[in-house]
């Protein structure tokens, strides 16, 4: 038996498993979005989906929150990553460990912290009442900013880690050289660091954006039924009204948005090799 046949034999179980227990069911679900009520192929389900103002609102909100979380993660990510790569190798490893830690902890537990902080008797309301900023507890939970903050905290580590590994590959003297030639910090950032860390930025961007638009736990816990995102809408439609037609369209939207984000951002990353 030659190596190629052996290779094929070793690959078959995993490939077959993913095929049967994942790709085929997913393909059937996706294909369902193009089925009309009379059984023919058509875009009826999409037309009906987008005719509902609530659905439009949820799609727009999902994209808006995804974009805002990604932009905020880029800004905070660079700030943190630039400081981390400035450290000695030992402390750098230690900080990378600290940033990695939250990724390993249950997202339910991580998000619950925001309920403790932002709830009616939480820290923020207690402080606001004590300092007389408000007479009655304010509502922070089940608002869009709460979902935004929760997602940012959940996903920021992925951006920091991507940027740290990108910045580690920037030649050590690139920044001092630019400074010596008279560039100010903004120019150094936009003309030197940004082009040199494009790959890491694209990787982090894909992880954060797709993570935000496909999140379930955070919008479920901090947004509830008021601030629906695509995943919580899907769950609600299937579980409350058994509305598979809507679920198939949401599936198609989520999968295509994830793939599109990946294509666009990896395009941007490769742009510099032109």
């Amino acid at each position: 038996m030659n190596a190629r046949t052996r290779g094929l034999l070793l690959l078959t179980p995993a490939t077959l498993f993913v095929f049967v227990a994942f790709l085929v069911p997913l393909a059937i679900l996706l294909a369902g979005s193009f089925q009309r009520d009379d059984g023919a192929i058509g875009l009826q389900r999409y037309v009906e989906f987008f005719a509902d103002p609530l659905h439009q609102e949820v799609v727009l909100r999902t994209l808006r929150i995804g974009a805002l979380v990604t932009l905020a993660a880029i800004a905070l990510g660079y700030v943190a990553a630039l400081a981390i790569v400035d450290l000695s190798p030992t402390s750098r490893a230690r900080l990378v460990g600290l940033v990695t830690l939250p990724i390993m902890i249950s997202p339910v537990a991580r998000t619950y912290a925001w309920i403790v902080l932002l709830g009616r008797t939480g820290l923020v309301n207690n402080l606001a009442l004590q300092f007389g900023l408000t007479d009655a507890p304010l509502r922070f939970l089940y608002t869009e900013p709460a979902v935004f903050v929760g997602l940012l905290q959940l996903l920021l580590p992925l951006m920091i880690l991507s940027l740290v590994s990108a910045l580690e590959n920037v030649p050590r003297d690139a920044v001092p050289a630019a400074r010596m030639l008279g560039a100010n910090w903004w120019v150094v950032f936009t003309r030197v660091l940004l082009p040199l860390t494009r790959d890491g930025l694209a990787t982090g961007g894909v992880l954060v954006f797709t993570g935000a638009i496909t999140a379930y736990i955070t919008p479920a816990m901090l947004g509830g039924a008021k601030i629906l995102m695509l995943e919580t809408l899907l769950y609600q439609r299937v579980n409350v009204t058994d509305d598979i037609a809507t679920a198939t369209v949401i599936t198609a939207l989520l999968v295509s948005m994830s793939i599109l984000a990946k294509l666009v951002l990896s395009r941007l990353a490769k742009g510099r090799s032109k």
Partner: protein
């Protein structure tokens, strides 16, 4: 304030944002008060004890634990041969296979659960438990393949060739030469997969039924009607458990290299 000081302050603020919530969960979880408040009222472990006393939560913990162990083993069993074939044997269609086995990474979890429920569990008449296990194995295969492939890439091919030239069969060469050398990668993959499965919510949402609920889903269900610090205590315990696992793994193998 000069540039350096500004940079450190900013890093401190980001770390506070990332890690502060855990301090809050910990503090709220050891509160002695009747309701969830922050700052906590007194210190006691009674809410942690109350959580452990709830039979449904113990049951859900047992399910999550067994699910995480079994799905990790399943993913490694399928993933290690696949990673080896992809790295070493240049099989036909390698790129397509790579795309197939890593595809569960790019598909939203809730969609995976729904697709499996509708077009795998119901038509094939599979029970909820095996379906849950199958979904988690599919989810974890990409991690197993990726981490093991990375360890194989760091191992020189010629030591394996040498073993075969000296008369070892390919199987002997794998178990006696390759396996000991990729052990750390496999252990790292085991830990990552275990944690991923244990914390997983969206995939399991549609695949849990009466009496079969994982711990994070049971927690989600209880949040809406829990006003005492018990969920905070449970969250704190879970966070401490993860921190302990990660700390040990980092000490033993340098886990962060594989994330």
């Amino acid at each position: 304030m000069n540039g350096r000081a500004l940079q450190w302050t900013a890093l401190g603020a980001v770390l506070l944002f990332l890690l502060g919530p855990f301090v809050i969960i910990l503090a709220a979880g050891v509160s002695d008060g009747e309701t969830l408040t922050f700052p906590p009222e007194g210190v006691s472990l009674r809410w942690a004890a109350s959580v452990v006393a709830i039979a449904e939560l113990r049951h859900a913990f047992a399910i999550s634990f067994a699910l995480a162990v079994l799905s990790t083993l399943g993913a490694l069993l399928l993933g290690i041969p696949a990673a080896y074939a992809l790295e070493r044997l240049d099989p036909p269609g390698a790129n397509i296979v790579r795309a197939v086995v890593t595809s569960p990474l790019v598909v939203p979890g809730i969609v995976v659960g729904l697709a499996l429920l509708r077009y795998f569990v119901i038509p094939l008449g599979i029970g909820v438990r095996p379906a849950l296990l199958a979904s988690h194995i599919a989810l974890l295969i990409p991690y197993a393949v990726r981490v093991v492939a990375a360890s194989l890439r760091n191992l020189r091919v010629d030591i394996e060739d040498a073993a075969i030239m000296l008369g070892a069969t390919p199987l002997q060469a794998f178990f006696q030469i390759v396996a000991p050398n990729i052990r750390n990668g496999v252990i790292a993959s085991f830990i990552l997969s275990f944690i991923t499965s244990f914390n997983q919510v969206p995939v399991s949402l549609f695949l849990s039924g009466p009496g079969i609920s994982t711990l994070p889903i049971e927690m989600l269900a209880r949040i809406d009607f829990t006003y005492d610090p018990s969920i905070a205590a449970l969250s704190a315990m879970l966070a401490l458990l993860s921190i302990a696992i990660v700390f040990l793994a980092e000490r033993l193998l340098g886990l962060s290299r594989y994330v």
